[in-house]
Amino acid sequence: MGFMQLLLILLVICAAATALSDNLLVSVIIYMSFSLLMSIVWIFMESPDLAITEAAVGAGITGLLMILALKKIHAIDARNELKKKKDKNGEDETHE
């Protein structure tokens, strides 16, 4: 199995993990790593132009803007995480 096959398998894993992860921030970070892998794949497919653009836009700017949007809508917030954990524990107690 060559390096290219390894990259492609990792791409599929990253794509699935982006869709399946519960935390939005984790999704964005996995998506950025997907873009990084994709830029290496573009180099192997002999299109360095696309590789540069993918690395700058996909792994850099898009991820950054998505994280900023998540902050704007207060989806990344330490207090929210705490609250979620508390709610979960409270629910468990009531069920028991």
Binding site: S47, P48, D49, A51, I52, T53, A56, V57, G60, I61, L64, L65, L68, A69, K71, K72, H74, A78
Partner: protein
């Protein structure tokens, strides 16, 4: 609307137009107006009651269904349907892919006259060693102008949505407070992170130089205006994250943004107008193509690359600044 309610509305309108608008209604007046406004006639009352009893009936049904484990069944059905639909889509997609020609095979439909022309005559016709830039900025320059305009439009929309409204901050203490309040999203961020600042000091000059190199060398090596601009925008953004906006605001304000982007778009459009005009009328263009491989070669492509680079850099940084604090 019945005649009754129409006359009520007319009375209300008359009263509103006669009185100065900023006078507050007394409580009694408000109650009277409300009463006038919300009086139902008999038919409306009947319809309202019928609707209400219907709502209660449906609610009772839903509650009973919920108690008998209906919700769990529905969730299970939802998951089952999701899996089924996804599997069907997967099968259809894989079946379609099996008909595509193999990667890089000779009988691929993209191996037609157009791409042969690009490969064989691209260097003579555009003067660009990097054939991709030759295609993007010469053969298909109209597409790239559209892309730049789309980016510019996106920036305008972001400005409209996220720009801080300084007028409202003047008269509303609440709006002014919201910028600095603990619930604003950058209140708890570390302000002087030494790891971030140290790495930014080393990385940002290299990133900016690399971006300039990619823009200027777009017709010779991989890259071009868009990718170089994105890299430079990312470099500026990294500096802004590490050190705040003050350094960048010394040379890049909202006015600079407007002027640079508008000038770049106009230069792009004018130079492309010139080459479309000469090309369509079979006039020899006065812009020399130069020797392939030299930095000052390939006619207008260098100018267009620089224009696109400016637009993309400014827009990327503008996006970051708008999302972060609502002003440049």
């Amino acid at each position: 609307m019945s005649d009754d309610s129409r006359s009520v509305l007319k009375q209300l309108l008359d009263r509103l137009t006669q009185e100065p608008l900023d006078r507050h209604m007394s409580e009694q007046e408000t109650a009277e107006a409300g009463q006038d406004f919300y009086t139902y006639n008999a038919e409306e009352q009947r319809r309202y009651e019928a609707e209400h009893s219907e709502e209660q009936r449906v609610e009772g049904l839903l509650r009973r269904w919920n108690r008998s484990g209906g919700e769990k069944q529905a969730r299970g059905l939802y998951k089952l349907l999701c899996t089924l639909i996804m599997l069907v889509f997967l099968a259809v997609m894989l079946y379609t892919v099996s008909f595509l020609p193999g990667f890089g095979s000779a009988e691929h439909p993209i191996n037609n006259d157009v791409s042969r022309r690009y490969i064989e005559q691209g260097l003579q016709e555009t003067g660009a060693v990097n054939i991709v830039t030759g295609m993007i900025l010469d053969y298909r320059a109209f597409d790239t102008l559209g892309e730049s305009t789309v980016l510019f439009t996106a920036a305008i929309v972001v400005l409209l949505l996220l720009r801080r409204d300084e007028e409202s901050e003047k008269w509303s203490p609440l709006a002014a407070e919201a910028v600095r309040a603990p619930h604003s999203d950058n209140f708890y961020e570390p302000q002087h992170d030494s790891i971030l600042q140290g790495s930014a000091r080393i990385l940002v000059p290299v990133i900016l130089l690399f971006g300039v190199y990619i823009v200027l060398n777009g017709h010779l090596s991989p890259g071009g205006g868009f990718s170089g601009g994105a890299i430079m925008g990312a470099g500026l953004t990294l500096w802004a994250i590490a050190f705040g906006f003050d350094d960048i605001r010394r040379f890049f304000t909202y006015k600079t943004y407007q002027r640079v982007v508008l000038l770049s778009l106009l230069t792009y459009a004018l130079s492309k107008c010139y080459s479309f005009y000469t090309g369509a009328n079979h006039i020899e263009s006065i812009i020399p193509l130069g020797t392939p491989g030299a930095i000052l070669s390939s006619g207008l492509i260098l100018v267009l690359n620089i224009c696109v680079g400016f637009i993309v850099t400014c827009t990327m940084y503008c996006f970051y600044a708008m999302f972060r604090k609502g002003e440049l």
